[in-house]
Subunit: 369 residues, 2 copies
Amino acid sequence: MSKFSSQDSDSSKNGSRVNSESNTNEEYAKGDGKLGFSNHPAQLYKILPPQIRRRIKALKKLQVESVRIEAEFFAEVHKLECKYNQLYSGIYQKRRAFVTGETEPNDQDCDFTLDASLDGVAEGGNEQGFSPFGAVDANTKGIPYFWLTIFKNVDLLNDMVEPHDEPVLKHLTDIEVEFLENDPMGFVLKFVFSPNEFFSNPVLTKYYEMRCKPDEEDPFSFEGPEIIKCKGCTIDWYKNKNVTKKTVKKRQKHKTQGTVRTVSKTVKNDSFFNFFDPPQVSDDENEDVDAEIQAILTSDFEIGHYIRERIVPHAVLYFTGEALEEEEDLEEEEEEDDDELSEDSDENESVVLCKDSKNNQQAPECKQQ
Amino acid sequence: MSKFSSQDSDSSKNGSRVNSESNTNEEYAKGDGKLGFSNHPAQLYKILPPQIRRRIKALKKLQVESVRIEAEFFAEVHKLECKYNQLYSGIYQKRRAFVTGETEPNDQDCDFTLDASLDGVAEGGNEQGFSPFGAVDANTKGIPYFWLTIFKNVDLLNDMVEPHDEPVLKHLTDIEVEFLENDPMGFVLKFVFSPNEFFSNPVLTKYYEMRCKPDEEDPFSFEGPEIIKCKGCTIDWYKNKNVTKKTVKKRQKHKTQGTVRTVSKTVKNDSFFNFFDPPQVSDDENEDVDAEIQAILTSDFEIGHYIRERIVPHAVLYFTGEALEEEEDLEEEEEEDDDELSEDSDENESVVLCKDSKNNQQAPECKQQ
């Protein structure tokens, strides 16, 4: 049976066509050509008689009202998410216990038959088994390097991980999400670590604040809650264990005496753990934010959202890679759509006069609803 | 202030990077190379010792439980959507009245100041004003060709519209959505027409049925409700007005006598109105569906979803083109991300051993939540 997931906005593209015959758009093209509107044909509303444009103002005012109701809808969805996060908590606790080895699953716990590669001897014929991250054998507790493996599997996360972070991330035993219902709306990611030689904190936290209110000046850009702010935490590194700093040595020559000495300087080091020290910006929305800082924050918000939304709820599927394969499949479908699209516009170039400016129209924003 | 909309899964890509330095992945690459797993590094879980793989089975069983709860969450979100559709109904009624001219908005209704192009004389200097679809002037009622303009502006819809459909679509005065809460979950699109010379139906309907249940055999592919079925309606065309049929004339030559006669044959014609006559498939899920029919249905479901989800709630913004511009902006951002991604992988080719197979990982499916 053919199906279309209503969640799958990536497929809501104009690539698929029902009718293969091209549409000459004669009538429309005529209007367009006549007035020389080379941009969006949609801009044509601007040339309607004033009496009609006045009525469009009324529709736009109604739309502002509609957006306000939409914001309430999204707030209710967020409330539902808070409620369901509680419902998942028992599952998450069990997962953590199995991963750390605190609890050994019994036969009923392991009654899962949909993945044959989890039965019998290891693939590749190595009976002992193997892990790329360190020694494992039949006596290894839990699922070793579970979260580190996820970090390495997911590009968005792996891009933050430096080789010197890996020994630290081997101690990551869980990521929990706490939802904040309102005042302000937000969520906290809690990275739980086993006792280790790097820092004393049992948990590192990253706080995200969201806003679920249309912009007064630009109400129609509203698409649901957005992350607007984040805050990290202080990591209590043990001496000489801070991977976010490095010492560089520099030779200094005395200008007049000619003597040379070596000075040590501590500088910032690339590390995943900089994730807990994001750039701080002023609360004043009108203050300009440096473009580089802006880019770091955009990326940070994206990562925080992805961890909350994809990684934590589906961790085992990122560990096995299944979730990645699905994302790839989706991407391939998207590319096929794009190909189809560009072929179409080539073929129709001579007859479809209004098409070029519209071919850019693409997938709707992914909307939480 | 930098922001990241949590709805915007299109941006949840691996294109943005926090650390610009490349990661050599030495440790990971070693494991990968050693065993010759050239595909997903994630496949490495298959070579773990059996005792550990057994625990992964336990996690997967937990994940099945998690997916079941997720399905309940989505059902509750759908319920919320039903509730909110009621809340929007007053706004939709007013919109329809302004569009048809049934009600003339008063000054308070038109108190909207965020679009200067709606005030003063028409752009292009034509004081009278102009519409590409037909004569308009100061005395024209309502907002003429409102829905036809939307159909022409949105590629996904415009691709279905043939020149002979346009005179019919000029009579489209509203699209309503009725939500069906459950048994089965679904929605109905109602296309409302003013009295016209083409058909007698005041309303044409398209019914969509959804399923909100994980597949027993493939539970992890569940991403929320999906459209699984649709049904159109019979259009009562007036004589010789059916745009979905055309008459073709064919010369037939008698084989032995050599006489020639002309026969007329009625065949299917490309038309938007074929949207109300989708291919019917068997209810038996295991029965094979023809690939062409499958493609038509996938496209149909996508269009139905798009009309419900984007067009109806934001109609005026598709009329003015603003909604299209936003979708384009998003698409451009996406392309920029892709560019960045491919540059990165080129640069790092020599050092990043495990990267190639992972660079394909892409945006998460857009998830309703």
